[in-house]
């Protein structure tokens, strides 16, 4: 049964993916448009301007379809959108293209396997997929466990602060963060990018940039002082 699905969906996806490498977004848009006319409005802006809120909802919806219906068409769209970005994200100086491909593949398999854990009230699809890809990279390249808290069991919260489940309700938080990120001084944003793209600890970043540890720490703290305001936290 799954082999049938693979054969029937296999060739259009290959066409679409080959086209991504050649022409990027345009081809993907036209593929979407041939599918269902009522969703064109939601899909077109997704590929023109990055991340209007309709785009977030659309990607969240795809992930829900994968979780609830094991919908392989929705999964293919997620793959088409995210696989090239995950590879671009992690293809830092350190990792070869082969290694990056391995991480992308493992990450997308885990997106399918763990889709039931995705909760759109807590995170955007891209946030959740970032965490899945990050963990796939730790697992594959460092062969280490990644200890993680279990937010479904809040019995241990000993402080009176709101619990994370209650926090993520403002859909515009990401928009505001995006604006602040773009406004950060170059030296601060460079440190954040090295951290996320190359999975470098702040001590390694200091070494790579030839800076004293204290300088890197203070850049991180200054960046998060600004970003925290958008997270609704007190600095």
């Amino acid at each position: 049964m799954y082999t049938d699905l693979l054969t029937s969906t296999g060739s259009p996806s290959i066409t679409a993916l080959t086209a991504i490498c050649a022409e990027n977004d345009n081809t993907v848009t036209s593929e979407h448009q041939t599918k269902s006319s009522d969703q064109i409005d939601a899909r077109t802006p997704m590929l023109k301007n990055r991340d209007p809120s309709s785009d977030t909802e659309y990607l969240n919806g795809l992930l829900k379809k994968v979780a609830v219906n094991q919908d392989k068409d929705a999964f293919k769209e997620l793959f088409t959108h995210f696989a090239p970005r995950i590879k671009g994200f992690f293809q830092g100086q350190g990792s070869s293209s082969d290694k990056a491909d391995e991480v992308v593949q493992e990450a997308m398999v885990n997106v399918w396997r763990k889709s039931h854990l995705f909760d759109p009230t807590k995170a955007k699809a891209s946030t959740w997929i970032f965490t899945v890809a990050r963990n796939a990279r730790i697992d594959l390249l460092r062969k280490e466990n990644r200890p993680e808290p279990d937010f479904t069991d809040p019995s241990f919260f000993t402080d009176s602060e709101p619990q994370p489940d209650e926090i993520y309700e403002r859909d515009d938080e990401a928009q505001r963060l995006r604006v602040v990120l773009a406004q950060l001084p170059e030296e601060q944003s460079k440190v954040l990018r090295l951290a996320f793209f190359e999975q470098k600890a702040h001590a390694e970043i200091a070494e790579e940039l030839g800076l004293p540890l204290g300088t890197v720490k203070s850049r991180i703290r200054l960046a998060f002082k600004r970003l925290r305001k958008e997270l609704g936290e007190n600095p």
Partner: protein
């Protein structure tokens, strides 16, 4: 209860990006299990990761990859018949948050604690990454750990009870980040034993001769 000592921004960033190795990540995850405020901060950092992923350059993906991903998924579905349920780590009324419970279980009193003398006990925790060491430490109420300094970094997360030293007062969920320059002698609170998770990347340096003599035997 009130958490006042949270991990530094740079430590949280290292955890959010995935750069932090296992031992330190275990300490941060244990703290996160007890601290709603740090947890929502982590979510914010992960949102930033998601934004950077959204904005990442699109790299070329080979034609074959989607097919291989589907193959893997399909073989999952076949092998998932009769698969074991994931281990249900129950925590009852214990003081062990889940990330730690997966390493040591839930019942602290059932652990094979080793005596370090003067009522201080410890339990080494096995990590797959060997660049740091993890252990639980139990200090009797009102008692000190021998005075020591660090040649590297030490992260301590209080699980129950509490301690104080020259840097302040630490209770359940609080994190202490100590570096090579700190020489301290933590004292457990008078009211109850202090149980804490401690991660180090280099042996501690004890100031007293007695502690130095036993140190090699306990590999602390």
């Amino acid at each position: 209860m009130n958490i006042t000592h949270r991990p530094s921004d740079e430590l949280m960033l290292d955890y959010a990006s995935g750069a932090l190795s296992e031992g330190w990540a275990l300490a941060v995850a244990t703290h996160l299990s007890m601290c709603g405020s740090s947890s929502s901060f982590l979510r914010g950092m992960e949102t930033i990761g998601g934004i950077l992923l959204d904005e990442a350059d699109e790299a070329c993906i080979s034609d074959k990859m989607f097919g291989s991903v589907l193959d893997k998924i399909d073989s999952d579905m076949i092998s998932s018949v009769g698969q074991k349920k994931p281990v249900d780590v129950r925590t009852f009324g214990s003081v062990v948050p889940k990330p730690l419970a997966t390493y040591v279980g839930n019942d602290l009193e059932a652990l094979a604690w080793k005596n370090l003398g003067l009522g201080v006990r410890h339990l080494p925790i096995g990590l797959s990454d060997k660049t740091s060491s993890a252990r639980l430490i139990s200090i009797p109420a009102g008692k000190p750990v021998p005075e020591h300094s660090h040649s590297g970094r030490e992260l301590t997360v209080v699980l129950s009870g509490g301690f104080h030293d020259v840097t302040g007062e630490y209770g359940p969920g609080d994190v202490q980040e100590a570096y090579g320059d700190l020489e301290h002698q933590p004292h457990a609170r008078d009211s109850e034993d202090c149980i804490a998770l401690a991660i180090t990347d280099a042996p501690l340096r004890f100031s007293g001769i007695a502690a130095r003599l036993v140190q090699p035997f306990f590999k602390i």
